[in-house]
């Protein structure tokens, strides 16, 4: 059965990604998390085998406080096509996102050149920026190969977990 903190963690993770729907089955319990058009997360706990797994709904329910548009009662799973994805995105544009909350730095020091600018070529191991929290420096690698199209945040800006930092046109 799903634990409350596991569901909460899942919501937190998914909320910050571009994934619009997440489906997971475990021991007869099924969890469906999907985002609505404005990006809010909707959690739909479901019981497939109603009798042996009655705990699914009550356990999942508290997690709904995080969702602005909760659907508390178990419902029949909607077909995947019903989950709308609002934005039309260029499939080749990859987002490099921040893995943690912290301060975004475009360069290793205030008086030196930025790691990358728009137009720069990067590969998987290229360092693109630093995110700092409490003197923990996290050098972010591109993890993809391509060209930086846009830097989405300002130097010194506080960035959230999962916040897009760069757009990369993939090779």
């Amino acid at each position: 059965m799903f634990k409350l903190n596991e569901i909460r963690e899942l919501i937190r993770l998914l909320d910050e990604t571009s994934i619009s729907e997440f489906n997971y089955e475990l021991d007869g319990a099924k969890l469906l998390i999907k985002k609505d058009a404005v990006g809010a997360t909707v959690v739909t706990p479901q019981v497939i085998h109603a009798a042996p797994a009655p705990v699914a709904a009550p356990v999942a329910a508290p997690a709904l406080v995080a969702a602005p548009a909760p659907t508390a009662a178990p419902v029949v799973e909607a077909p995947a096509a019903a989950a709308p994805v609002a934005k039309v995105e260029d499939k080749n544009l990859h987002k490099i996102v921040s893995p943690m909350v912290g301060t975004f730095y475009k360069a290793p020091a205030p008086d030196v050149d930025a790691y990358v600018k728009a137009g720069a070529r990067v590969d998987e191991k290229s360092i693109v920026c630093i995110v700092e929290a409490m003197k923990l420096m996290n050098e972010i690698e591109a993890d993809v190969k391509g060209e930086i199209v846009e830097v989405l945040v300002e130097n010194g800006q506080l960035v959230e977990y999962g916040q897009p930092l760069f757009l990369v046109k993939l090779d």
Partner: protein
């Protein structure tokens, strides 16, 4: 082998250890022992050789070699593997390389001198030879990335406790992790993380301790800002013992941090060791200065600042200046 010889010399009740006993312990010839003794003498060990008695350690230099640190070290994780360099650009840089190459958790990288010791945001860390502890620890905690940054506060608690235990210096932590005595910095911590999305690959916790740096030895720009344990205590302090104490204080706190899955109760330990909360401060951030009262740290170690207009702000990264030493 030098470690075995050193250990025997230190342990000898009458002072002398026969060359024969050393041969047996090390499984090498008398000539080989003689050569090692010579190496140690060259490194600064004062070893007396007396015919028919053997060797006696008269005086040992203040070194931070693996052999010196291991002597009496009681940890089981931190410092089990030690990489020592007489001089190096930065212990953090070498530790990063070693960590990427698979060095085990707890590996200690330490140098007598750093030529490009790093501070926050590209600043230099003054790391002259023979007088400081310039070290980096490789850690691989299995923790959510959101909790990774708290290691820097946990390390500060360990460091502050270690200073107290090893040298009697009662310093305090300035948020997030500088160690200050009378408003001057004697230790700094700079942590670098290598992560793949949502997973910590490794952390390198760099620790700099000004041990026997003379007050007038600091460069002009650090005047009034930096101090050393020697300057505080008025005497030279053997470095290896301080290193051991840091490792011994850090290990149980680190284990607790991993076990807790984060800060947990260590937040209280940080607060007990801190000198920032309750004071009026200026947080120098990359986007300007923010002035206010340091209220608290949250469960992630983030500093909560209350500005004059009552508005509260969370500080994730900043250099802190205390502008009012009185506790309100």
């Amino acid at each position: 082998m030098n470690e075995t010889i050193l250990h025997m010399l230190r342990d000898a009740p009458g002072g002398f250890v026969s060359g024969e006993a050393m041969c047996q312990a090390c499984g090498v010839s008398r000539t080989s022992i003689w050569k090692h003794i010579k190496d140690m003498q060259d490194a600064g060990y004062n070893i007396e050789a007396v015919r028919n008695k053997g060797y006696r350690l008269v005086d040992a230099p203040d070194l931070v070699t693996a052999a010196e640190i291991r002597e009496g070290l009681s940890t089981t994780l931190l410092g089990q593997s030690i990489v020592y360099r007489e001089t190096i650009d930065s212990t953090n840089s070498l530790a990063q390389q070693l960590a990427l190459g698979g060095a085990p958790e707890g590996t200690l990288v330490i140098a007598d001198e750093q030529t490009s010791g790093r501070g926050r945001r590209g600043r230099q860390w003054f790391s002259p030879p023979h007088s400081g502890i310039w070290m980096s620890l490789i850690l691989r905690p299995e923790l959510p990335l959101a909790h990774a940054a708290q290691i820097t506060l946990v390390a500060a608690v360990a460091l502050n406790q270690a200073l107290s235990r090893a040298t009697g210096v009662q310093a305090g932590i300035k948020w997030p992790n500088d160690i200050l005595f009378n408003g001057k910095k004697c230790c700094g911590i700079l942590t670098e993380m290598h992560a793949e999305f949502d997973q910590i690959h490794h952390l390198v916790v760099g620790i700099g301790i000004n041990v026997n740096v003379a007050q007038d030895e600091f460069p002009a720009e650090l005047e009034g800002i930096a101090t050393s344990l020697q300057a505080i205590r008025g005497e030279r302090i053997p470095r290896a013992q301080v290193v051991r104490t840091v490792l011994e204080e850090f290990e149980p706190l680190y284990r607790q941090y991993v076990l807790n899955g984060g800060f947990g109760t260590l937040r209280d330990a940080w607060k007990a060791n801190n000198i920032t909360l309750g004071r009026h401060i200026v947080a120098h951030t990359a986007r300007g200065d923010i002035e206010g009262l340091a209220l608290d740290i949250d469960e992630f170690g983030v500093l909560l600042l209350e500005k004059a207009d009552g508005e509260r702000e969370k500080i994730y990264s900043a250099d802190i200046t205390v502008i009012n030493q009185t506790i309100s």
